[in-house]
Symmetry: C2
Subunit: 334 residues, 2 copies
């Protein structure tokens, strides 16, 4: 173990799609451990679309990443040295100190993982922020009911795969949208009743009408753009739209186009609500109480797209916007 | 009294802004009265933006108007002949049988006006559908609280003037937006704390930031377009947007542009909900119990823009989209 942390830093704020050259890998010496602090080495780094927002200077729900300083994000690691009474060597912990291989932090910055034999990296994906996001969107925002029709965009992503499975468990009919034949096939194995490959569907509006002639009660929106227009046209009376992500716009510098048919919101008295998981962590225990036993029993599945080594993190991140992941995008450290 | 009804009919479906030549005035003989029927002459015809939607063929919450048949809409009239036990000659009644000077209908198609000395045409405006729309939007959808900041677009219209006044009565701080200096002055007499003349405000976004530095909790949206973009940027955390009208788009044949910054919905966890008054009529008594005494006591005011004679109805209707009305647009019949 070295007293050095390797970490990815942001060199400049990306314009449009981020590029490898916007990032740099730095070596930073770690400070000596103070009382109450812990030294952790990371095994898994979370790669998430929301990080794009923090690379811009714009005001958002979290402050922008600094230039020439450490980026952060979800990470799973192991305690190597502890001067905190709650943590001992070998403890698996999660933190928001990702984009780096090692760090020193106060014990309060760490969360002990729940006791389970499930792979620890699930707590970055299906059992972590993306899974909790799907659960909160379906159950706390949309209040999905059995028998309703749900549409999920980016259905093969980390949030989408959980939204599909949790909705099926809740008795809904589920239509997914994704961008490749492989992903269509994968979503069908997860139980999706119908899956649209949006890249090969020239008329999304007509396809949704065909698949949901009675209308869509809940739209779980991760993308924006043409799918949102098509969904608005096909929502049922009093339908609910959970606005979870608009990944199509994240690299557009505010020049993306919005839905042309917002008048459907009035005609059909739709409700649209923005979702951030941070409003819902008080229900995390409720989610885990459902999801951990379901994973242990094989009733929920999680796909992961794994990139190897800290240096691969920028490319893994850029890959999110190119649809290169199925399920949770992760970086594994050696 | 003649057994003839003069009525405005739609000759063709307008493209963009409706034109006088899209309409025609027809004479139609009235049928002989059957048992249970009533003959009514109208004194006041309601002129409303929502009627534009019914002139198109597109599916909406109400069926499209037929071509070469009578248009309809709110009207206040007087019973001339009655073969229905609940109505007698001289009774003032409201109906949805507007755009015409006289009609024969079943008694069930009529509503007796509440007993009050207030002018009967108020029941087409401030005490009718537009007033009830404002009340339901503020109290049933947005759940406006005392001390919150409300923004109202088209604030000098029939719905807007009531939204401004009802919100002030509820203890909110009210910012209105309208399109002329006269309307700005009028809104200030209604108690608006600040009024924007959007035609003379080059940077709506900055102006809203100046007027609501702590953010807008509730936006009562009647317009769409640039004001919706500016409002989204200035909403407070967990703000609510009541989507009541998008008058800027009604003549755009679905080619209007939507908000470019819907991501603000996620960042600030906003709620946007489409409002149609038809979902809320069960609360009409509750609204009238507040609003009738307030009008009688001079605590609420209603402005009317009155056009004379049935033949003026198409021009009055077109005038709605040119901002020619302050308060409720009405046609008075001789």
């Amino acid at each position: 173990m070295t007293p050095i942390s390797h970490q990815i830093q942001l060199l400049r704020r990306p314009t449009g799609l981020p590029a490898q050259s916007d990032f740099t890998l730095k070596e930073v010496p770690l400070p000596a451990l103070q009382e109450g602090e812990v030294l952790v080495t990371n095994q898994w780094l979370s790669v998430d679309p929301y990080m794009r927002g923090r690379m811009s200077e714009a005001k958002s729900y979290v402050p922008p990443f600094p230039l020439n300083g450490p980026l952060d994000g979800g990470a799973i690691g192991t305690v190597q040295v502890s001067r905190h009474p709650d943590f001992k060597v070998g403890d698996p912990v999660s933190s928001m100190l990702g984009w780096r291989d090692a760090f020193v932090a106060r014990g309060e910055q760490l969360t002990r993982l729940p006791a389970t034999a499930l792979p620890s990296q699930l707590f970055l994906g299906a059992l972590g922020m993306p899974g909790m996001t799907a659960w909160a969107g379906l159950h706390k925002v949309a209040r999905l009911q059995a028998g309703e029709t749900l549409l999920v965009s980016a259905a093969s992503g980390a949030v989408g795969t959980m939204a599909v499975q949790l909705a099926k468990r809740a008795g809904a009919r589920v239509i997914g949208s994704t961008g490749s034949a492989d992903k269509v096939a994968y979503l069908k194995t997860l139980g999706a009743d119908a899956v649209i490959n949006y890249r090969e569907t020239p008329d999304l509006d007509a396809e949704l009408t065909r698949l949901a002639p009675e209308g869509i009660q809940v739209y779980f929106e991760n993308v924006g753009g043409a799918m949102l227009d098509a969904a608005l046209n096909n929502m049922a009376l009093h339908g609910r739209i959970v606005l979870c992500g608009l990944i199509e716009q994240y690299n557009s510098n505010g020049q993306g186009s919005g839905p042309r048919n917002l008048a459907q919101m009035i005609r059909k008295r739709l409700l649209m609500q923005g979702l951030l998981v941070s409003d819902h962590w008080q229900h995390y225990g409720e989610f885990l109480a459902e999801a951990i036993p379901a994973f242990e029993a094989g009733l929920l599945q999680a796909e992961e797209t794994i990139s190897e080594g800290l240096a691969s993190m920028p490319q893994a991140f850029i890959g999110l916007f190119e649809g290169r992941n199925t399920g949770k995008m992760l970086v594994r450290l050696g």
